[in-house]
């Protein structure tokens, strides 16, 4: 126990902390400027100087550790004098343009000067003049206002790990700059904006449009982009989201945000948002009333159900919609339409992979806590770049490296390149053999743990097979890689979607599960949609009811039948790919698509479009007139993120409240469906989203008894005890793929940090960061095809071709062309084939063979 005396107050401390922290714990405020709770200590601004008995000079409270018996005074005339002097020095150069500066009202320097500062300055010469830098589309730098606290640099380097900005020049000339001096070209996380105490680094999105004190409401909600589920605070004025900021201490992101989360909110007020329902009349979509649109949907669906049966109708749910939306949607399909034909784009890898993993390890095997990653001693990353798919999770891996942990990657991971990764880059064709070798070597080095006999019998099959464990491991990092993996004590295995969408994905996933088992690791399955997990929890799958109860068992169905007061079909429905196929064949008559752009987000969009055109009746419910909505017979505009209440469940299975931030006319997705349901004589009467949630908590074994109040703090992670909900643990199917043929160029999906697709392309700030889809190829492969950086290229697969600009990039693996799936008409998935992995039932998008040819250079 350490006892210190601060301003005459005895403070007892368990462990040594800084004088500043000790004072704060006792409610004594010491002024600071360079200190920030998220950052390393710096001791630069000298504002926290305090008097310590028996020490000759004033000491910086932020760096001085307390010792037993220390006596500190924080407010004396001598200290006040020094603080006044420091502030006078800062004001020599800091302009007094507060009336014009956006920071005024939340400026730390303003507050400090108001409290401690001199009322006049003695400096007679001119202030430093630096022109405001507006070269960057998102972040504006005003270096006149900079007080050189270096918080932004420490944030960028020490926490975000981007190291995009630095202190340039020396002394009075020093200033903060990105490398280029103008555009940032960085990760655009904007965390430098968060920590800047003055108006030196600010967002351009809300420039001069409001004052901090004019914010009527700070509404805490969850980011709409990826499955990390960061807490964000939306600051609203006049029903417009002015700014989105993080909150220090929030459970998932603790004061950090990524580019999408911070700058991607403008879609909420986009002028292209749909506001009125539309009905196709004489081949043209025309605006109409809600009564007519809902009446028509109800009539047509009832008609088709009567004529062709419920199984002639299918529904596609949305990983961007809330749990409430998805719950009501699947209930509508099952109870009103009478079919289990409900699925989603989670079938693109996440659903199958999660089911496979949980079949081996038990429910919740992929629901590990994200912040725990930084405390692992080893993180193995395979099949994708976590720092672009789930950026805040990526930060935890960077933090792990910074704390001395090992980062092992299979494939080059660009976002981790400065975090001393041990990389193996086998390339698509050799990945399977390499993973087999790792499994074999782990078995021989560590032996089998003996706790999962079914899994071990499968591992033995792999190890014993001829050829296994003989992969070429000439890479110089291999001994280091396998050594660190074997020696790891608290490992984590992070699996990305690229692996789940490659050839032989099921087998590769099995091998990763085997590795995870042999090293006793924790699994993380990356997911790029905010509520992909929650949507699956809600039973938006053809074979599973809410809470993962299999639809095939009468005993399970009974609970839901009793609650919904109707019968549920025992026959599992069609998955999303089977739906498209059935539509193409004419077996499926109608489809209801909620918040999904199937034409763009499923492989081979041309085929999806052709098949969906054959439907007798298509309803699309969305925010924008997407490629899919343009095919619809009825388009229903729903309220989107920021406009409605509900819940999202993140990849940790943390159930969090999503809140309405702005008022818009219209209905939530679930309310539209409930209205249609009423028109089909099935009463769904919910007072609001909370009432829907209440029904979920009565019916889903995973959500039992939860309330909105309980989950408000964001600390509810739904319970699991390793019990199998999906059915008994049984077979682990193994399906070893054929070895890939070499020499062919295959398609890869470029996961761009700044985009998610449909929502992000309607967010101007994100479009400014990345405005044109670019194909990327390594220099060797491009050179062999005589392609040069900046060439316009045509990329063609069996099904489709698109034209893009080429970027030659040494960080891409050979024989792969990376294409993002963001902008209309340029999506990577449009090229992809529809060959499904036999185990995961996910399409092997990344195995699509393509040709790349130049269509001439374009002058930019």
């Amino acid at each position: 126990m350490i006892t210190v005396n601060i301003n005459g107050k005895e403070i007892k401390l368990e462990k040594a902390v800084t004088v500043l922290e000790a004072a704060r714990s006792a409610g004594i405020k010491i002024p600071t400027l360079c200190w920030h709770e998220q950052l390393e200590k710096y001791g630069g601004c000298r504002l926290c100087l305090v008097e310590v008995e028996k020490m000759p000079r004033l000491q910086t409270a932020c760096t001085l550790m307390v010792t037993d018996g220390m006596a500190v005074r924080t407010e004396t005339e001598a200290i006040a004098d020094v603080r006044r002097g420091i502030l006078e020095f800062l004001l020599i150069n800091h302009p007094l343009d507060c009336p014009y500066c956006d920071k005024a009202g939340e400026c730390e320097l303003q507050d400090l000067v108001e409290k401690y500062g001199p009322t006049t300055g003695r400096f007679k010469e001119k202030k430093r003049r630096v022109t405001e830098n507006l070269q960057d589309p998102v972040i504006v730098r005003n270096m006149e206002r900079c007080v050189m606290c270096t918080r932004c640099v420490r944030m960028c380097e020490g926490v975000q790990g981007a190291s995009a900005i630095g202190v340039i020049d020396r002394g009075g000339h020093s200033h903060i700059e990105p490398f280029s001096g103008n555009r940032y070209n960085c990760e655009y996380c904007g965390n430098c904006v968060s920590v800047c105490p003055v108006g030196a680094i600010m967002s351009r999105l809300h420039r001069h449009s409001y004052r901090p004190w004019q914010v009527k409401e700070n509404i805490e909600t969850v980011c709409p982009y990826c499955a990390v589920g960061c807490t964000v605070i939306a600051q609203v004025r006049d029903d417009v989201i002015k700014r989105v900021v993080p909150r220090i201490g929030s459970p998932v992101n603790n004061g950090m945000l990524c580019s999408r989360g911070r700058f991607g909110y403008e879609f909420v007020g986009d002028p292209e948002r749909l506001t009125s329902p539309m009905v196709r009349k004489n081949g043209v979509l025309e605006e109409t009333t809600w009564e007519e649109a809902i009446g028509l949907v109800a009539k047509k669906l009832a008609e088709i159900k009567d004529r062709n049966g419920g199984d002639a109708i299918a529904g596609i749910a949305s990983p961007r919609c809330t749990n409430e939306d998805n719950y009501v949607f699947q209930k509508f399909m099952r109870a009103v339409i009478g079919t289990n034909n409900i699925d989603s784009t989670a079938r693109m890898g996440y659903a199958g992979a999660q089911a496979f993993i949980e079949n081996i390890f038990g429910q919740g095997a992929t629901g590990n806590i994200i912040s725990g990653l930084s405390n692992s001693d080893t993180v193995l990353v395979a099949g994708g770049d976590p720092t672009t798919i789930n950026p805040i999770l990526g930060l935890q891996i960077r933090a792990c490296s910074r704390k001395g942990g090992n980062v092992l990657t299979i494939g080059h991971v660009r976002g981790l390149r400065n975090f001393s990764p041990v990389e193996l880059t086998p390339g698509g064709g050799r990945e399977t053999a390499l993973l087999e070798r790792i499994v074999s070597e782990l078995v021989s080095r560590k032996g089998l743990p003996g706790s999962n006999t079914i899994l071990e019998s499968r591992i033995k099959t792999v190890v014993d097979a001829a050829g296994a464990g003989k992969a070429d491991v000439s890479e110089k990092d291999y001994p280091d890689f396998i050594g660190k993996l074997t020696a790891s004590g608290t490992p984590a295995v992070v699996i990305g979607k690229d692996l789940l969408q490659s050839a032989g994905s099921g087998y590769k996933l099995f091998l990763l599960c085997a590795i995870n088992y042999l090293i006793n690791g924790r699994l993380y399955l990356l997911s790029d949609h905010a509520n992909e997990q929650g949507m699956l929890d809600m039973g938006c799958a053809p074979d599973l009811l809410p809470g993962y109860r299999p639809v095939g068992y009468a005993e399970f169905r009974k609970r839901y039948e009793n609650a919904w007061k109707t019968k549920i079909s025992e026959r599992p429905g069609l998955n999303i790919f089977e739906m498209i196929e059935a539509a193409g064949k004419g077996d499926l008559k109608a489809m209801y698509v909620m918040g999904e752009n199937t034409v763009f987000n499923l492989p081979d969009g041309a085929n999806v479009e052709a098949s969906m055109r054959k439907l007798e009746f298509l309803v699309v419910q969305d925010l924008f007139l997407t490629e899919t909505a343009r095919l619809a017979d009825v388009v229903l505009p729903a309220l989107g993120w920021g406009e409605k209440d509900g819940t999202f469940t993140n990849m940790e299975r943390r159930i969090q409240r999503v809140r309405k931030t702005v008022n818009r006319a219209g209905m939530e997705d679930w309310r539209i469906i409930a209205e249609i349901s009423k028109n089909m004589s099935f009463g769904m009467n919910y007072a609001g989203s909370e009432a829907v949630f209440e029904e979920i908590t009565k019916i889903s074994p995973l959500h039992r008894d939860l309330t909105y109040d309980e989950i408000a703090a964001g600390n509810v992670i739904y319970p699991y005890k390793g019990e199998p909900l999906r059915g008994a643990v049984g077979e682990i199917p193994l399906n070893k793929p054929e070895t890939a043929s070499d020499g062919k160029i295959t398609l890869g999906i470029d996961r761009v940090l700044f985009h998610s697709g449909t929502l992000s392309r309607k967010s101007p700030a994100l479009v400014k960061m990345y405005s044109e889809s670019v194909a990327r190829m390594d220099p060797g492969t491009a050179g062999a095809l005589s392609l040069k950086d900046g060439d316009m290229v045509r990329i063609s697969s069996k099904s489709h071709s698109i034209e893009l600009r080429l970027s030659v990039d040494g960080e891409v693996e050979p024989s792969v062309v990376l294409v993002p799936n963001i902008f209309e008409g340029k999506g990577a998935l449009s090229l992809a084939g529809n060959i499904l992995d036999p185990v995961l039932k996910a399409p092997a998008v990344c195995a699509t063979e393509v040709t790349v040819e130049s269509v001439g250079k374009v002058s930019s």
Binding site: S163, G166, V167, I168, R170, F179, S180, N418, G810
Partner: protein, 160 residues
């Protein structure tokens, strides 16, 4: 092609890698590595920073921060030979300012400037520790002291 291959000779890349091996961290090797880059190109262009940062694995913004902090790294193009003349107290008292005028009048060499034939650049620098033998200057890495106008004429002859 990586930028380092475009910028550097293989020998220079090797030299930087050898420098790197002498230090416990990559950042510690930045100063000598930047000197190699400056020697190769005469100044530290954005591309040179990028290339050094790629070889060492140090973020380029950090490399540029270091290179702009120290006066002896040149962040703008220099002539073939860089004259660095001290005008600090001792040198000033012993006539350094006359020498500045001399360079301006005879060679057209302004402080901070470069001759039109790109033969010389002049940088006015702070003390180089030659107070006892002032005035003093550096040309590239060579040191000269007890300067007079005549002596400067002789010295500059050696640099083409």
């Amino acid at each position: 092609m990586d930028i380092k291959d475009i910028m550097f000779s293989q020998a220079a890349i090797k030299e930087i890698e050898e420098i790197r091996a002498k230090y416990p961290t990559a950042r510690a090797a930045l100063l000598p590595a930047l000197y190699v880059a400056q020697r190769e190109f005469g100044w530290l262009s954005p591309e040179a920073y990028e290339a050094v940062s790629e070889i060492l694995g140090v973020p380029k913004a950090i490399a540029r921060g270091v290179g702009t902090f120290y006066a002896m790294y040149k962040n703008r193009p220099m002539g073939r030979n860089v004259v660095q003349l001290c005008t600090n107290v001792s040198c000033m008292i012993l006539g350094a300012e006359r020498l500045v005028d001399f360079l301006k009048n005879k060679y057209g060499l302004e402080p901070g400037g470069t001759t039109p034939d790109n033969r010389f650049s002049l940088v006015i620098m702070e003390c180089i520790g030659a107070c006892g033998t002032a005035p003093a200057m550096l040309i590239n890495d060579d040191f000269y002291e007890n300067l007079t106008e005549k002596y400067i004429d002789e010295i500059l002859e050696k640099y083409r």
